[in-house]
């Protein structure tokens, strides 16, 4: 995207002056932006969808994202044909345990909507209660507005959103919810709000805030990964970093995963925990290699051994 293109869009009425300034800043800050032509945008949309497809598991999530993509595409086409369209309300609830791919999918959605020209930037602002809730009267609304502003043109992703309802009526979390609801009215079509959290807590949260539920037409459930999926995720993470598991390391990792899955889902962090194990194993491999006497081979550098995962979790 170029400055001239932004000016053309402003002149053609495709973006507002505020959105044009957002894009200007993005150009100046060298933020990742869509490429120049519609053709490139189309190609990039395909890239984004390919990235979604490459994610391990998440079959239903992928299907739903495809449905959303098709829905948006058809609504836009219907607009071109001057047919009655459904409002493009894309605020979404993500339900699932930690490490089940919620943030990853949110980022993909942002990029997808950017390429489909639903959002001008498609960036993701990830926040939690502490980023929204203040310490004195009026502070919360100010903090929440600040985050909403940052998210304009993209997605505001509130992790563990149910915690906003913590503390009851007198808690400032309610003020944050009110500010969010107001922003959804005032900035319709300018940003997408995703509320994420554990399935049960999110259900309770929506039940206790009936006004909220109707504002979120999309609900996506992120199931826990099974052991095969977690092992595949681990292999993929290692492949990206150019590491390989020895047979012994693979068995040790499989044991760790099975042990993890026997824990409460709340305390086992799914793919996030697997990533932590991988990162720990990479650090331990480095220490092992540094301490090793004799020549260090390419094979040594590539392979993670069982011992690098430690004795257990």
């Amino acid at each position: 995207m170029t400055v001239e293109e932004v000016l053309d869009w402003l002149e053609e009425g495709r973006v507002s002056p505020a959105e044009a300034f957002v894009l200007f800043r993005a150009v100046e800050e060298k933020v990742e932006l869509p490429n120049d032509s519609v053709k490139d945008n189309q190609e990039q949309l395909e890239d984004v969808l390919a990235e979604l497809d490459a994610l391990i598991g998440l079959k239903e999530v992928k299907q739903l994202v495809r449905e959303i993509q098709a829905f948006v595409q058809i609504q836009k086409r219907r607009t071109e044909e001057r047919l009655v369209t459904e409002p493009l309300v894309l605020h979404t609830i993500f339900r699932g345990n930690p490490g089940t791919g919620k943030t990853t999918v949110a980022r993909i959605l942002g990029r997808m909507f950017r390429h489909m020209e639903v959002l001008p930037r498609g960036h993701l602002i990830e926040v939690e209660r502490a980023d929204l809730v203040g310490e004195y009267i009026g502070h919360t609304a100010q903090k929440t507005r600040e985050q909403i502003r940052k998210a304009l043109g993209g997605i505001l992703f509130i992790d563990e959103a149910y915690s906003l309802a913590r503390g009851g009526e007198k808690d400032f979390g309610k003020e944050a919810i009110d500010a969010l609801v107001k922003a959804m009215e005032d900035h319709k079509q300018e940003f997408i709000l995703i509320l994420a959290g554990y399935t049960e807590e999110m259900e309770f949260f929506l039940q206790s805030n009936p006004g909220l539920r109707s504002r979120f037409p999309l609900h996506i459930d992120f199931p826990d990964y099974n052991s095969e999926e977690l092992l595949a995720i681990a292999e993929l993470m290692l492949e990206k970093r150019q590491y390989r598991l020895t047979e012994g390391a693979r068995r040790r990792l499989a044991l760790l995963v099975q042990k993890g899955l026997r824990q409460e889902a709340y305390s086992f962090g799914n793919a996030r925990t697997v990533r932590n194990w991988i990162e720990l194993a990479i650090r331990r491999q480095a220490v092992r290699l540094v301490q090793k006497s004799g020549e260090m081979t390419r094979k040594d550098l590539l392979h993670i051994e069982a011992g690098d995962f430690g004795e257990g979790w």
């Binding site: 000016l7 402003l10 002149e11 053609e12 002056p17 505020a18 200007f24 800043r25 609304a141 500010a179």
Partner: protein, 204 residues
């Protein structure tokens, strides 16, 4: 060498043109040599007195200015004089306006804003916070401030300080734009102009 531009930017009807005319007067410009550049057209010059300029170029209806209006100014200071172009621009809107001429004029403003040495961002302090939105400041002002904040020569002019509601508006503007220089002025009564002059002088 072209003159450094001091651009006045802001929403429609905040008092940009009145400020440009009165600020030029404050800087001892007796007759205004104004370069008018409507979008996509050639520049033409006109010589106007302050009274004529006020009559012709200002008013209460929004979007009186639909193009760039530049006044060349020689600013006297303690250490000699500095020359610059005071650039009045078309008012920005919150959403996307239906009128093509307004959109073209806004695009022209934005094309110039990246090159301006100084950006004077004008906000109407008297009506600040009346919109009923969650934040008193609209998106366009907020985004201009974010963009301007990336530059050295950026200041907010909180205008219409002569009106009773403006004091509260000024407080709110300062709260909403922490870290930005906010200068309270009255374009009508030429108050706060000394501070604006000082700021412009420093950044030329």
């Amino acid at each position: 060498m072209s003159l450094k531009a001091c651009m006045i930017i802001g929403k429609a009807n905040v008092g940009k043109t009145l400020f440009a005319i009165n600020f030029a007067d404050y800087l001892q410009v007796t007759r205004l040599e104004i370069e008018f550049t409507p979008p996509g057209e050639k520049t033409h010059c006109r010589s106007l007195s302050r009274k004529e300029a006020l009559q012709e170029l200002t008013g209460t209806t929004p979007h009186q200015t639909l193009g760039l209006q530049c006044i060349q100014i020689q600013m006297p200071g303690l250490k000699g004089k500095k020359r610059f172009s005071l650039m009045d621009t078309s008012g920005l809107t919150e959403g996307i306006p239906d009128e093509t001429n307004i959109r073209r004029a806004m695009a022209q403003t934005l094309a110039e804003v990246r090159e301006a040495a100084i950006i004077l961002h004008m906000i109407d302090a008297s009506s600040h916070g009346k919109s009923g939105a969650i934040e008193a400041m609209g998106q366009v002002d907020w985004q201009v401030a974010q963009f301007g904040g990336m530059r050295k020569g950026y200041a907010v002019l909180a205008n219409k300080m002569d009106l009773p509601e403006a004091a509260a508006g000024l407080r709110q503007i300062r709260e909403e734009l922490p870290g930005h220089l906010v200068l309270p002025i009255s374009a009508l009564h030429k108050t706060g102009f000394a501070e604006v002059k000082q700021f412009v002088w420093r950044h030329l």
